[in-house]
């Protein structure tokens, strides 16, 4: 049996090729930044931030009459503002951090849905914002993603050792007199940019999965952070492309398809990861 057509057929469509490039890029950037999100226990923050972007996206959509390039910059602006606001709220608030984040995130999300509900054909647009529309990615979208994704990776690389100290031991970061507050905000802004980059591929509701799941899969396979970032990036990119193939053949929406492939990868690692996987532990139990 010749499997080549199975792989090559979808590639005849330019929108599929663009979609795969977008999905792979998102997989890489999300996994690298997501490693910090996971290790620092910021998953809830990431999810909240993704949802808080919606009113900005809606406003951009209304103002520009649906021009996609503009929506992208509106989303970016909102994400930056939201990350700093949520960061400030969670630091100096009267209530618990997760309570404060919940209130901000739910209000922003409601505001966004309210705004979109005033538009005509709102169901379709809302679905695209929430769950992504990777097959609608244009060449200029790809350039935006590459530019911002590249910037995120560059900053992560440049500040690698500072972020590492900050994440592992904030007290050491303070005694080394690193600018802890500033570095924290830089990380928040990187997360915000990452979410915007992945907005079109998996959408607001599923961005969390791209941030956390590949990084978590990688964390089961290695105990070194740099290796974890590389593995996570590989898992994320692979899941993105595989998810799109499955979406093509099974005729399911692309965002959920990508996320579910990520999840399958995680479960597989949970079962067969060397040393820590379920199968490994079973075998050791039998031996010893």
């Amino acid at each position: 049996m010749n499997l080549v057509p199975l792989f090559s057929e979808p590639l005849h469509y330019a929108f599929m090729v663009r979609g795969m490039m977008a999905a792979a890029m998102v997989g890489v950037v999300c996994a690298v930044v997501g490693s910090y999100v996971m290790l620092r226990g910021m998953a809830f923050f990431g999810d909240a931030l993704a949802h808080a972007i919606l009113p900005g996206v809606a406003l951009g959509y209304l103002v520009s009459g649906g021009a996609r390039g503009d929506v992208f910059w509106w989303a970016l602006g909102t994400a930056m503002v939201a990350s700093v606001v949520i960061g400030a709220v969670s630091q100096g608030s009267q209530v618990r951090e997760d309570t404060a984040i919940s209130i901000v995130f739910a209000a922003m999300f409601a505001l966004g849905i309210g705004m979109i509900s005033t538009m005509r054909g709102y169901a379709v647009d809302l679905a695209h914002f929430l769950f992504g529309n990777v097959l609608g990615v244009t060449t200029s979208d790809l350039w935006h993603m590459a530019l911002l994704g590249g910037l995120v990776l560059l900053v992560t690389l440049a500040l690698y050792k500072e972020f590492l100290v900050l994440s592992f031991d904030p007290v050491l970061a303070a005694t080394l007199r690193l600018p802890v507050t500033l570095l924290n905000y830089v990380l928040l802004i990187l997360i915000a940019i990452t979410i915007v980059v992945s907005l079109q591929t998996v959408g607001i509701a599923l961005t969390l999965a791209m941030l956390i799941t590949p990084a978590a899969t990688a964390s089961l396979l290695t105990r070194r952070l740099p290796v974890m970032m590389f593995l996570g990036a590989a898992v994320g990119a692979f899941s993105g492309v595989t998810g799109l193939y499955l979406s093509y053949y099974l005729n399911v929406a692309s965002g959920p398809s990508i996320v579910l492939v990520c999840t399958v990868g995680f479960v597989a690692a949970l079962l067969v990861a060397p040393r820590r996987g379920w199968v490994w532990k079973r075998l050791r139990l039998r031996k010893g």
Partner: protein, 271 residues
């Protein structure tokens, strides 16, 4: 924002000529509405090893954190080599082991290299001389063989030694350790003191909080007895008198046998 960046490139404040390593005068710390420390004054000489003992909640951790520049004093002054601690990068604070996330995906040498973050400098990667330095620090604490190990796989004594190596990699002149002996068995404690003896030869000054009055009385140049206020400070024989201990611990007096050192509570009961 500017001062943040310039502080990242600066090598830390210089040491004033002739100033003592640590000078604490009339230090009071009010923390969450409660007085944690009140009117504490003392100084440390270069190469000295001091134990800080006192009951739970006596302010031992608070004292170490203020000296490290992690908490601000409410009144009074802390001077390290003649300057406030906030600008120094020569102070290492070794946290209690329970404060560390041991599942974090880093190896022993990664953790030690973290101490060199400022020496390496912003936007730079470790160079050959940094790796060489880390190797020497690991050698000094006898952990070279385990350099590639994930930190969660180490024993308690080994974990403690990794953080000492980190302090050495930082090129710290003043090392503050919070309860390093807690949870270590006797051989691991012996190993630790062997390393601390070696550090003393390198003129590193150390201030160590502990619950272990036996170790405090036998292994340190001076002992500080603390219960919010400084109750006594000096050689163990003078500082840990029965009277002082009774004042510090009240009815929870964990030891007896006057004039003959201290034994842990409960004292052996005759059969």
């Amino acid at each position: 924002m500017n001062q943040y960046f310039s502080s990242l490139f600066a090598p830390g404040v210089s040491h004033r000529e002739g100033a003592s390593v640590l000078e604490v005068s009339n230090l009071t710390v009010i923390y969450g509405g409660k007085t944690a420390l009140e009117g504490v004054s003392f100084h440390l000489a270069q190469g000295e090893r001091m134990a800080v003992v006192g009951p739970n909640g006596a302010g031992k951790s608070t004292l170490l954190k203020v000296i490290a520049g992690l908490l601000p004093p409410s009144s009074g002054e802390v001077k390290v080599y003649g300057h406030a601690p906030g600008g120094h990068i020569c102070i290492a604070y070794v946290p209690q082991r329970s404060q560390v996330d041991w599942s974090f995906p880093v190896s022993v040498s990664d953790v030690v290299m973290m101490g060199r973050t400022r020496k390496i400098g912003l936007f730079r990667w470790p160079r050959r001389k940094d790796r060489e330095h880390v190797r020497q620090c690991l050698d000094l604490v006898g952990m070279s063989d385990l350099a590639g190990q994930q930190i969660g796989e180490l024993s308690g004594g080994q974990q403690q030694r990794v953080f000492i190596a980190q302090a050495l990699a930082q090129e710290a002149h003043l090392i503050l350790m919070d309860e390093p002996l807690t949870g270590l068995d006797v051989p691991a404690q012996e190993d630790l003191f062997r390393i601390l003896d070696e550090l003393r030869q390198h003129r590193v000054t150390m201030m160590i909080s502990t619950h272990d009055l036996n170790q405090a009385s036998g292994r340190f140049d001076r002992v500080m007895l603390l219960n919010r206020r400084l109750l006594s400070l000096g050689a163990a024989r003078e500082a840990l008198t029965l009277e002082n201990l009774a004042t510090a611990y009240g009815s929870h007096l964990p030891f007896l046998v006057p004039g003959n050192g201290i034994v842990p509570h409960p004292p052996p009961r005759p059969l």
